[in-house]
Amino acid sequence: MRIDKDLVAASATPLVLGILVDGESYGYAILKKVNELSAGEMRWTDGMLYPLLHRLERLGYIQASWRVAASGRRRKHYAITQAGLELLADRRRQWAVVTDALKRVWTEAAAAMPPARAMVAEPSR
């Protein structure tokens, strides 16, 4: 299943911030974690993660520092800041409202019509 681009974009910030709550991390590891959490269903274009990280850094939600990894390569690590935690809490409340509303819509829709048939009856535009 392909997740719609807009949905990926909307969920990217809370996902990244949420992952960083567990401790600082770097780009590749963050992407791997997203992959793991969504069981491979949410594929980001890898390169797009970095402009997002830089924006969050500029706005003060995360802080970056260069570390040297065990392999001897330099890596840019990101850690969440107080402002980032506050933003995350705020986003979390917003998403709770959205998912609640969606859940209700799904159950009501399921009760109101037998799935496929009703869709077909809709006049085509």
């Binding site: 590749y28 992407l31 970095y50 402009p51 830089h54 500029r58 003060g60 392999s71 840019k76």
Partner: protein, 459 residues
């Protein structure tokens, strides 16, 4: 992930090197960003090799997952607009198309410069003389030149005729009315105030065209601040060069017994001065990266010097105890000093990498702002005393208003700087404050131009 010692794979290294070179060609991606992306690529390749792919295959998959570099670079450009603010157009143009457009641009700029020169000389046909009607020229100077600059940006940002006229014509017409319909008293100070503030107001109208009508966008406003700073540097350079050339020409003609100084004063100087306004703007736009290095250098040299000057002045002011006795000219002078401080601050902010950590220079800058604030508060007290003692005159009221505006800006800037130095606030808060404040200056200039003359009965 385990840290396995990688076997040196010459083929893979060469491929990664090639990829790196290709990424580096995108100007929006800085070398540090390329390092970060390369690290990502290597991690991905290593993981894929673990699953059994060969080095080549792993590299191909990893590059593919990285996404189209043009798209990624565009995303970087959006986030780091300061890295290529001069290119502004984020869509990639074909090289040939860009080439013909830049050649056409030169023609447009030169045509507009000639038109501005004609506009400045045209009133001479109607009997206005630069010397005899100096006050008329002073009031109308901005109106004769800046519409052409606004026109250039309207063309460059592809605003279209209808939108340009709707957006830009009303303020210029209003300015023309105020400059020529108000019955100014001879040698009155409101006339001088209009002559000073109208060009400032019209410069913001040019800004409206510069940002392509998108005046709500804070990054675009920052671009306009940068443009203003760089334009000032270019204009000064052109003026210096022009002065040297004119001096040599005069001396040369004099040596062979030809007197051309009146021709120079009546034609070359005014036409050159207005033409340079457009040429300087074009030079800034044409992404000459020379100045990019000059603005930060100027800021770094003059920030400590200005701080020293202000502190010395403050000490002298307190030591002589002359705070109440200061006269009006001094108050205006202090306003100018504060404008300079604000200019330095804006230069520094616009040239700074927003992601860099606070350093010594940022502390120095806070010191500059604080010393300016102290001078300002002293002056404000002095001015209030003067106004309550002798009543309000147009000059004193303008000096006071400007002072209050600068005080508010600098005080809040100082507060934000402290937050930034303590790492409680991101640098973007400072940037945002300055771009948010920008309309205040325009509004103040508008008040001085529109309201002051009638309020002080045109004296």
């Amino acid at each position: 992930m385990t840290a396995v010692p990688r076997t040196p794979d010459a083929g893979l290294e060469a491929q990664i090197g090639q990829w790196r070179g290709y990424v580096q060609r995108h100007r929006a991606i800085s070398p540090a960003d390329v390092d970060e992306l390369e690290g990502h690529l290597r991690d991905q390749v290593a993981d894929l090799e673990h699953t059994g792919l060969s080095g080549d295959e792993a590299f191909l998959v990893a590059v593919k997952r990285m996404g189209s570099l043009d798209q990624v670079s565009r995303e970087f450009a959006r986030e780091h607009s300061e890295r290529l603010w001069k290119q502004l157009v984020l869509t990639a143009e074909l090289p040939e198309a860009a080439d013909t457009r830049s050649r056409r641009e030169l023609v447009v700029v030169l045509a507009l410069a000639v038109a501005a020169a004609v506009a400045i000389k045209a009133p001479a046909l109607a009997g206005y003389d630069l010397d005899d009607d100096a006050s008329w020229y002073a009031r109308n100077f901005g109106l004769l030149v800046l519409p052409f600059l606004a026109g250039y940006f309207a063309w460059k940002r592809r605003l279209g005729w209808a939108r340009s006229l709707r957006l830009l014509a009303p303020p210029f017409l209003l300015g023309a009315l105020v400059a020529n319909v108000y019955p100014y008293a001879e040698d009155g100070s409101t006339e001088v105030l209009v002559a000073i503030h109208l060009p400032i107001l019209l410069w913001f109208v040019v800004g409206l065209a510069y940002v392509g009508g998108d005046w709500g966008s804070h990054p675009r406003r920052m671009d306009f601040i940068r443009f203003t700073g760089e334009w000032a540097v270019y204009y000064t350079l052109l003026a210096l060069g022009g002065a040297v050339l004119v001096g040599l020409t005069l001396a040369g003609f004099e040596a062979i017994g030809l007197e051309i100084s009146s021709f120079i004063a009546e034609w070359v100087l005014p036409c050159g001065a207005v033409g340079a306004v457009l040429v300087a703007a074009w030079l800034v736009e044409a992404k000459q990266s020379v100045v990019e290095n000059i603005a930060p250098v100027l800021t770094r040299v003059f920030t400590p010097l200005t701080t020293l000057m202000l502190l010395a002045y403050l000490v002298a002011l307190l030591a002589t105890g002359n705070v109440v006795e200061v006269d009006r000219d001094l108050l205006i002078l202090v306003d100018l000093i504060l404008v300079l401080v604000l200019g330095l601050l804006l230069y520094a902010i616009s040239a700074r990498d927003p992601l860099a950590r606070p350093d010594l220079f940022d502390q120095l800058q806070l010191l500059l702002v604080l010393s300016a604030l102290m001078v300002d508060v002293l002056m404000l007290v002095a001015m209030l005393i003067r106004i309550t003692e002798f009543g309000a005159s147009p000059n004193k009221t303008v000096a006071l208003g400007l002072n209050l505006i600068l005080l508010a800006n600098l005080a809040w800037s100082a507060r934000l700087s402290v937050g930034f130095l303590r790492q409680r606030l991101p640098f973007s808060a400072l940037e945002r404050w300055q771009t948010t404040y920008l309309p205040v200056y325009a509004a103040w200039a508008a008040v001085v131009v529109l309201v002051f003359p009638p309020a002080f009965s045109y004296t």
